[in-house]
């Protein structure tokens, strides 16, 4: 009696599994079957290569049997099938590369059914394929890339809340996600439409009940972008193709995400640094070899002061709330041979110029050597990007580093003529000025608030002795 109950339950389960697939393409009719899709054998896996099939059509499978070997990013893994059945047809042969997670790879039937009926079963009968899902917001596709900074980094990654997660373990505890949970939550009509129009259904947000992806979502997505690659153009003249490294991919993803998700607006100011330069010269003269302050050190401190005076800017947009930080941790953009990195000077508001200077030098050197620890470049509440050493750059705008709410772009020093009132009338003096452009996230920082911040920044830079307050 039990076997009958279990069989019925197994049957019910199979039929609900095949719901997504068997009902879609009823062009030919096949006996009841289940389509096996490419499993996600790790939380970050988006595609894999099919290795050797350990079973052939007609073989019986018991739970725990290895069905096929899968290789992804140098890792060889066994796909252990957890249900009972018989392998009816292999849809993806050994050696097939880059099969996306969720795409059909084989067909299973119940014990006793006829496997030969599936000889002519094709991929289309299984529901067709879709390209691998684009790397989810928090994760890089295959590699373990860190980077709360604007770029991926060479140093090893660990994890933080918003940094891409190294695969297989750590934050999610490494539980293997069963293939079943990976079926997109979409209505049958939506799946059909997605396949017809070539839209990647896994990337869509559902607006139906329970977040289900509906036909209209798919329609909107298909009219939105043209995803597929155009057929190869006529042989071009000479060019060089560089494969995209994971670091490049991470930079691309994070900055695109930032541009898409953060409504950037820019506030520029010309700031007089004459007094600051004088103060710097004076302090460096009495340094006695202990320190050598740079203009950037002063600016970092000024950023700290401004963030304390306008704490709205020292915040981060989170899910359902805005977090305002008590400390000001400034990410300092450093150019290294591998790319741009942003090591963090923590609690700038509590540090003196000498400590800031020492830290920036040390972090910069270690960033160039690739020896930063993850906590030294992940985090930060505000970023400063100084291109003042490039004499061609008057001003520029920078992209905000998510999940921060602002970034300051600093141009080069220029001599500007300013009018000065004297007893004889108006004469001209030369003033050293730099143009700073702040980019702010309007979700967190309103226009007037951004303006306030720039005002405070300018005030303290133009009167650097106020840094002591």
């Amino acid at each position: 009696m039990f076997t009958a109950v279990l069989r019925r339950r197994a049957l019910q389960q199979t039929s609900s599994l095949s719901y997504q697939f068997a009902r879609c393409y009823a062009a030919k009719s096949f006996p009841p079957h289940t389509v096996v899709s490419m499993p996600a054998l790790s939380p970050t896996m988006t595609a894999g290569n099919i290795g050797t099939w350990q079973k052939k059509p007609g073989d019986a499978i018991s739970p725990g049997d290895v069905l096929v070997e899968i290789e992804t990013d140098k890792a060889q893994m066994d796909f252990e099938f957890q249900e009972e059945g018989v392998l009816a047809k292999i849809l993806k042969d050994s050696g097939t590369k880059d099969v996306a997670v969720g795409n059909p790879i084989a067909v299973m039937i119940e014990e006793g059914e006829d496997a030969s009926a599936f000889e002519s079963f094709t991929l289309e009968d299984a529901g067709g394929e879709s390209a691998p899902a684009p790397p989810p917001k928090e994760e890089a596709s295959e590699s373990s890339e860190p980077a709360d900074s604007q770029s991926g980094t060479a140093p090893p990654s660990s994890k933080t809340e918003s940094a891409p997660v190294p695969e297989e373990t750590e934050s999610s505890g490494g539980k293997l996600q069963p293939a079943l949970e990976r079926q997109p939550n979409a209505s049958a009509a939506a799946v059909r439409l997605a396949i017809e129009t070539g839209v990647k259904i896994t990337g869509l947000k559902g607006t139906g009940t329970g977040g289900q992806i509906t036909e209209s979502d798919v329609k909107k997505a298909s009219s939105g972008g043209a995803p597929s690659a155009a057929p190869g153009a006529a042989p071009a003249a000479s060019y060089t193709d560089t494969p995209i490294s994971s670091m490049r991919k991470t930079i691309a993803n994070r900055l695109t995400e930032s541009m898409n998700q953060n409504p950037h607006y820019f506030v520029a100011a010309s700031v007089s640094v004459s007094k600051l330069l004088k103060l710097r010269a004076a302090l460096n003269a009495s340094a006695d070899g202990q320190y050598k302050l740079s203009v950037n050190d002063f600016l970092i401190k000024a950023v700290g002061v401004a963030c304390k005076k306008v704490p709205t800017v020292n915040s981060s947009w989170r899910d359902g709330f805005i977090r305002q930080f008590d400390n000001v941790d400034v990410s300092v953009a450093v150019a290294t041979p591998v790319g741009l990195m942003t090591p963090i000077v923590k609690s700038v508001d509590g540090l003196g110029l000498q400590s800031i200077s020492a830290q920036v030098k040390d972090l910069g050197k270690r960033a160039r050597d690739g020896k930063l620890k993850p906590e030294e470049y992940q985090g930060g509440t505000f970023t400063i990007s100084n291109m003042g050493m490039n004499p061609a750059i008057d001003r520029f705008t920078a992209v905000i580093n998510p999940p921060q709410a602002g970034i300051l772009a600093v141009g080069t020093t220029k001599k500007v003529a300013i009018p000065v009132e004297t007893e004889e009338g108006t004469s001209i003096e030369w003033d050293d000025q730099i143009v700073v452009t702040g980019s702010f996230d309007h979700k967190v920082v309103d226009g007037a608030v951004g303006g306030e911040w720039i005002k405070e920044f300018k005030k303290v830079v133009e009167n650097p002795l106020e840094l002591m307050l």
Partner: protein
Amino acid sequence: MSPSRGLNSSVLRILRLSKVKLNSNQSRTISIFTEIPKANTQIYVSRSHSPYLNLSIEHHLLTKSPAESTILFLYTNKPSIIIGRNQNPWVECNHAAIRSSPLQPLLVRRRSGGGTVWHDEGNVNYSVICPTEKFDRNKHAEMVVRALHSLDVQGAKVNERHDIVMNTPESTVPFKISGSAYKLTRLRSLHHGTCLLSSPNLKDIGKYLGSPAKKFIKARGVDSVRSKITNVHVGNEDFENAVVEKFRDMYGNVETTFVGEEEGTVPAIEKGVEELSSPDWIYRQTPQFHFSYPSAPASEELEPVQTRSWNIAFIARNGVITKSIEHNISSAPGDSNSSSVENSIIGTNVYEVTDWAHILPVHEQQEIPVAKAMNDMLLVGVTPAQGI
């Protein structure tokens, strides 16, 4: 905290380690560790230089060790070329160079994924086996980097492909010194990697791993990613000791057990050696590929060739030819002459061929150079049985 105290303690540690090493001269066989109830940390160093034996020991450690244990295994192999689980030996290595090399390098297909690497006595391999839930691609690569730092190799670091690279004075781009590969099973996972310490063959590695057949083969399976390589210039024993020390820092102080040829008598390991050295495993685990000469294959499928010269193309599955097309300028495709050639080579085991001129009935002058070229590229070198 004072520098001198730190130096003393590290000197003491090195002395202590070498004492430990000298004492554990007894090499217990591996089968014993399964009997140790809570052998949570184990360290093995192999004295054998046979790649088939070392990889089989490694696989035995992966499959038979206690579920919660973490194991370090260090081994060095004699000159060999190790291809990944799903690679094509004709695409990945230069068989002509292998055949003519005085080193007589062995060809080995390992069980983990990834690309092709060169092993020799100047290259030490490290392998860490741990529970799958603790698996992390970088953790132990980082450990090896710390070991290198302690040997004063300051420029070493892990890159985004989980390889270990090192800065060199000649270049702004770091050079690769170690590659990694992984094998994951449900409970236990393995991360192993090479480390080029002082390979005398550094300049030739590119020659061994660069196959002229590559452009004539369109293969399924995994491609290697080429990188510039360099030696670390550190002694093997120093490296081993440093890695063992860092491993002990992470997982606890345990003795090193030496293993070697005696392990070859353990039945599971013996079976593993047999499997790894069999031509069936090395050559016939090759995913499907399409070979076409002299006109390079355009896709995975066989197509009639648009060329004015004689062309032979075939598809091989599991290393055996299943389909072929011969293009003969003196006869039309489908001609009885062509189809007899095509049919006659079906069923040929590519690695067993000793002379393509015998397999392809060479009638005409232009066919001889084709057969010669195929011999050069496809003929297999030393058979494994000779090389164990």
